[in-house]
């Protein structure tokens, strides 16, 4: 399964949301069975992203994991695939460049961003391999990542995105 070029990943962090992104967020939340109209917090900085991501978000994470487990009953991916690992390294590079542009040198946070993008790409590949269409939540979330965002998830009663 081909995954899109990582060139735009992490390039739109902190920017105001466009209509298409708002639509992706609403569709993503609705497809996960979460409230589609949760307030959205647009995170402004790497440090704010770190602060938010360091708080538990178990309900949202569990809903995503339940869907991942369902997909893995149909599709399995090899985490040691050479092409896949090259993509994950490219995502790490994209996160590092974006962080450097903002004066962030936190290696842990950069790796966490890369890990988030990697997880999203993995979920996307699973969904596509299982035959899911464009409305699948993992496809919607992937669209946000590949468009340069870092969706941070649902914390309490709001959706956070960098």
């Amino acid at each position: 399964m081909r995954v899109e070029s990582p060139e735009a990943w992490f390039c739109a962090l902190g920017e105001a949301l466009g209509q298409a992104e708002e639509a992706d967020i609403a569709a993503y939340l609705a497809a996960l069975g979460l409230a589609a109209r949760l307030p959205t917090l647009v995170v402004a900085s790497w440090s704010q992203a770190a602060e938010i991501a360091r708080t538990p978000a178990e309900r949202w994470w569990s809903v995503e994991e339940a869907e991942r487990a369902r997909l893995e009953r149909v599709a399995r991916l090899d985490p040691a695939d050479r092409e896949w690992l090259a993509l994950t390294d490219a995502l790490h590079g994209a996160a590092a460049v974006a962080a450097a542009r903002s004066g962030c040198a936190d290696q842990g946070l950069i790796r966490a961003a890369a890990g988030a993008a990697t997880y999203a790409a993995h979920q996307y590949r699973l969904a596509r391999d299982a035959g899911a269409g464009d409305e699948h939540p993992f496809v919607r979330k992937y669209a946000l990542f590949s468009g340069g965002r870092w969706p941070l998830g649902v914390y309490g009663d709001r959706f956070a995105i960098f």
Binding site: R54, P79, R82, Y119
Partner: protein
């Protein structure tokens, strides 16, 4: 520095004595398998145990780095003639260190802090290896191995702040650490003698084990925790 002349390419490797080739194959195979076991039984499952998205994503990235280490060693193994079946985890019992039953986030942080420290020492010993392709893999993976061990230590620093999780970290150390020194093999090992003869490795198993124990004691001491007493093999 190695007294054995550098073996710069895979082509040169095949011109070395059979004893040299076998010794390098054993080490490359061991690293390829250990990296894979570690990623499969510790890093990937730990994503579910991590308490926050930040910790989950960071663990995900660490898992990918470990898989990538496996692939680097495996590709070299393929090039130097290690048989594919020798690289299948189904055909080789893992070291005891990989049989630790991971169930909690505290355990995982201890495994990164003390288990990856053991891996650092093994990789350090290859930084001046006479087989240059293996030396280069060691040098490529070393910064990430150091990050992984620091990742474990940093999370342990956070965990020991609360009495309950502090007790769980000490308990994980008590159960994980006793197996870790065995990672360095037997004292007076014949294999290790060959590795040093050919400049593949630098130190005796017992020297590495003693260094590991000293470094582990220092790291755990900084957390104001203790290593359990263990009987070290002669």
């Amino acid at each position: 520095m190695s007294a054995y002349p550098p073996v710069k390419t895979v082509e040169e490797f095949f011109k070395q004595p059979a004893e040299y080739q076998d010794a390098v194959r054993k080490i490359v195979r061991s690293h390829a398998l250990n990296e894979l076991y570690g990623a499969q039984v510790f890093d990937e499952p730990a994503i579910a145990l991590a308490p926050t998205p930040y910790a989950k994503w960071l663990t995900c990235r660490v898992a990918m780095e470990e898989y990538h280490h496996h692939v680097r060693f495996k590709e070299l193994a393929d090039q130097i003639g290690v048989k594919p079946e020798a690289l299948d985890t189904k055909n080789k019992r893992p070291l005891n260190i990989f049989e630790f039953p991971l169930k909690t986030w505290e355990e995982f942080c201890v495994i990164k802090m003390l288990g990856d420290l053991a891996e650092i020492l093994q990789v350090e010993d290859l930084l001046h290896c006479s087989f240059v392709p293996l030396r280069n893999i060691a040098r490529t993976t070393m910064p990430e191995e150091k990050f992984h061990a620091q990742f474990g230590a940093d999370f342990c620093v956070d965990l020991v702040e609360a009495p309950e999780s502090r007790a769980r970290v000490q308990d994980a150390i008590n159960r994980f650490y006793p197996e870790a020194p065995k990672f360095f093999g037997a004292s007076g090992s014949k294999n290790n003698e060959l590795y040093r003869k050919y400049g593949i490795k630098l130190r005796k198993n017992e020297e590495m084990r003693a260094d590991y124990i000293a470094r582990a004691k220092d790291i755990v001491g900084k957390l104001e925790l203790e290593l359990p007493e263990i009987a070290v093999a002669a």
